[in-house]
Amino acid sequence: MRTFAFLLSQSILLPFIIGLIRLRRLDKDYQPFFLLLIIGLLTEVASFITIKLQGTNLVVVNIYVALEWIFIAWQFRVWGTLRQKKNLYYVLLILPILFWIVENLVLGNINHLVPYFRFLYFLLIVLLSINKINFMITHESRNLFRNPRFLICIGFIVYFVYMIVYFWAYHVSLFEKSDISNHIIFLMAYVNAFSNIIYAIAFLLIPAPQKFTLK
């Protein structure tokens, strides 16, 4: 059981390895997401080390969430979201970061698991993903389930909606023990693994960049 749980927690290796194998063929449209996977993997390693040395990985995780927001927002920008509205994009990018700075550095919560920045950026990522999916539903004529962007957005929605529910359950469980909260928290590894499998399939479907040459 512990081995299985450990394997589930390393599921991020799946999309990472596939991305690494296809690195040369990886379109620049997906590079921010691949960089995020690398950062995710480094965070796993850093978390392992800090738990061994200090007993907690909260600082590492809190820094990671800020980076996760930056890279995902960048990825949506590369895909064309708010391309015509530069100012709105920068406001959308910077406001949550300012929120993070206030919550973690100014209020000194970097050693704690505080939900408010997380709720904010989870919500923003889900909304951006919904917007992208709805755009693809109304504009794409090909099979959406073979579109890597569609799959990645589905992965984001599944994962980050679950994370909203997870943090609600986690904070409820701090005050009151309940089976529902425990079950929701228990599902974390499975949802994480499921999202990573979707990302891995998306990486397999990424087309090679078009070379404009007659050779």
Binding site: P115, L127, I164
Partner: protein, 246 residues
């Protein structure tokens, strides 16, 4: 403690509610944009097609027509003595007359001159008279109220009437077709009724034979109009079109 649980639960519910509301708003927005783009695409395709027809009609009428007339004139001025040669020349002149006649007909079918010179109603009257002569269909035109149609909409309305009349001639096996026009509060109202065999509208639209009907719907859509069609096997067909012209 209960307050804290309540607060966090309220926050969580608000977030989930915001996601659901945003989902619906987003899909409606994208769908509207998609419909607008589709309409613009259809309008562009129809406009290009009409411009192409106009160009070809113009080329036939202005270039080939005078050339063929000149050829006929030159042939008629050729002096020959032999009887056989005169017969050949007469035959040739006859063929040229046929070619000139066919070309005028093709040019007229592509874009009737009357539409440009005298307007929509006159073009429709001329078209109906031609059909009454050629086909075994009696078409009656009623104009309840004089209609004023913007120039850019005339060709589309004319094509829709052409389509309806051709459908009736080809498929309906009707003896009579009544066409009525009226104008009311800035809308052009058009009604066509035949006494033919009728058809199953859903079946026709689902099959490949529905292209003419789809073309009617497309033209109506780009004019921001409404098309209603009533038909059942054995009961004839009614078309009702309402287009803003005000």
């Amino acid at each position: 403690m209960e307050n804290k649980i309540l607060n966090i639960t309220l926050l969580f519910s608000l977030i989930i509610g915001a996601i659901i509301v945003y989902f619906f708003i987003s899909i409606i927005r994208h769908h509207r944009r998609y419909v607008r783009l589709q309409r613009e695409k259809i309008f562009a395709e129809i406009t290009i097609r009409e411009n192409e027809r106009k160009r070809i009609a113009g080329d036939l009428h202005d270039s080939m027509g005078p050339l063929l007339a000149a050829v006929k004139l030159n042939i008629s001025n050729v002096d020959v003595e032999q009887k056989e040669d005169k017969e050949v020349l007469e035959k040739t002149a006859g063929y040229l007359d046929e070619i000139i006649g066919s070309m005028r007909r093709i040019s007229h079918d592509l874009l009737p001159n009357t539409l440009e010179r005298k307007g929509l109603l006159e073009a429709i009257r001329e078209f109906i008279n031609q059909i009454n002569v050629k086909a075994s269909l009696n078409i009656q035109l009623y104009v309840v109220k004089e209609i004023q149609v913007p120039k850019e909409k005339e060709i589309h309305i004319f094509r829709m009437i052409q389509e309806i009349v051709h459908n009736t001639v080809k498929h309906a096996q009707a003896r009579n077709l009544q066409i009525g026009f009226s104008e009311e509060e800035g809308y052009l109202l058009f009604l066509a009724k035949d006494d033919g065999k009728g058809f199953d509208k859903e079946k026709v639209l689902a099959g490949s034979h529905g292209l003419g009907l789809r073309s009617l719907e497309s033209r109506c859509e780009i004019l921001n109009g409404v098309l209603s069609l009533e038909s059942k096997p054995g009961t004839g067909t009614n078309y009702f079109i309402k287009i803003p012209v005000g």
